[in-house]
Amino acid sequence: MAAVAEAADGARDMALMEICGTHTVSLFRSGVKSLMPPNVRLISGPGCPVCVTSCGYLDAACELAARKDVIVATYGDMVRVPGRAGSLESARGQGAAVEVIYSARDAVKLARENPSRNVVFLAVGFETTTPATAAAVLEAEAVALENFFILPGHKVLLPALEALLSAGDVPIDGFLCPGHVSVILGAAAYEPIVKKYRRPCVVVGFEPANMLEGIGLLVRQVAAGVAKVENAYGVAVSEGGNAAARRMIEQVFAPAATEWRAMGSIPASGLALRGPYSRFDARAKFGVEFGPDYEPPGCRCGEVIQGKLEPTKCALFAVKCSPTAPVGPCMVSSEGTCAAWYKYNLPRQGR
């Protein structure tokens, strides 16, 4: 902590963005966030995969789940996010087959065990999660599985950061880069952002001491007016990242524009199945499309994920929206910014 205070002493006001839901939670839980010097503000960016998923995607998932011939396989956090006609959880209550799985490989297994049904895997997440989907598609291809599909929703981190920076309506002086996304990308991946936008990027892990170290490095850069990539999580993150994982992504997917919640469509920020694997796309198979994006009435998650609004400024926060009765994905997801504020900040404010 002393290092951060020392680096911040006499420096200008600055806003540092963390772009990883796990960081958001860790900053709150450890108390690091509340220890920041007055001129250092930590803001949360679009780092929770569930939160950035557009409602159009969720509606398509629910539409698929309603089909008798389909089993939807998904990571846990997705099931409670409300779409226009309810969540996957409520669909399950009405008899839909929705299976929560731990690994994309489990979805392939599920397809093999249920030859008379079609298994649709909800492929969401950033670069940490994408290689697992790519591997699952390759596994399904290897055994010519005909009842395994994915609903493509993966996100690519860097184009989203660029979109935030070029929109310019949120002041961001530097990025705390996500540890496990960076395991795949490598620290060098942030060089273009540093060069083009002159914002420092520091890769950090999840332990509070490591986060503090990273924040200290970031503050020092901003104070000195320099911008470079630094890696405070060298034990897991190399310069070049995990090339085998990236090869797998590149074999199966090609960059494509995709819709982010409230941020609209961002070029090259998503991934489409390449030609040889296009038969695995559930949209073509079942004739579903991603509808328009929208937000639940009154919910301001779209601003929250871009760092434009603190959760407590949403009129529904803790009034009509709480983790037990969430209105938007930022409150549903255990890593959502609203959920983190609710869980760790409310008690402190004595409300």
Partner: protein, 96 residues
């Protein structure tokens, strides 16, 4: 959802043992503080028995040294993420 957790490789499995999913790379049994889970080594093919790996959604994504792995575990446990093995099994609520 992007959280990866450290585990120790206890055995490299034959194709037949790897739980019914065909594998694009080697599959290993990995111990997470007493919970054994099958993990694909497709993205860390150089990993061997006795080594620590960082695992996300059923895939090893990086090698870790033992000290770092232990530290991470201690942090996860202290922070109430001691339910991690449960999560691994049930596929719980994976934040990224």
């Amino acid at each position: 959802m992007c959280l990866a957790v450290p585990g120790k490789i206890v055995e490299i499995l034959d194709d037949d043992d790897s739980g019914g999913a065909p594998a694009v790379g080697p599959v290993a049994a990995v111990d997470f503080q007493g919970t054994r889970v099958d993990v694909s080594l497709a993205m860390a093919p150089e990993a061997g028995v006795g080594q620590w790996v960082l695992v996300h959604a059923g895939f090893a994504i990086a090698l870790l040294d033992a000290d770092e792995a232990r530290q991470t575990w201690e942090y996860l446990e202290a922070s109430g993420a001691g339910q991690m093995p449960e999560q691994l099994k049930a596929g719980g609520d994976g934040g990224e």
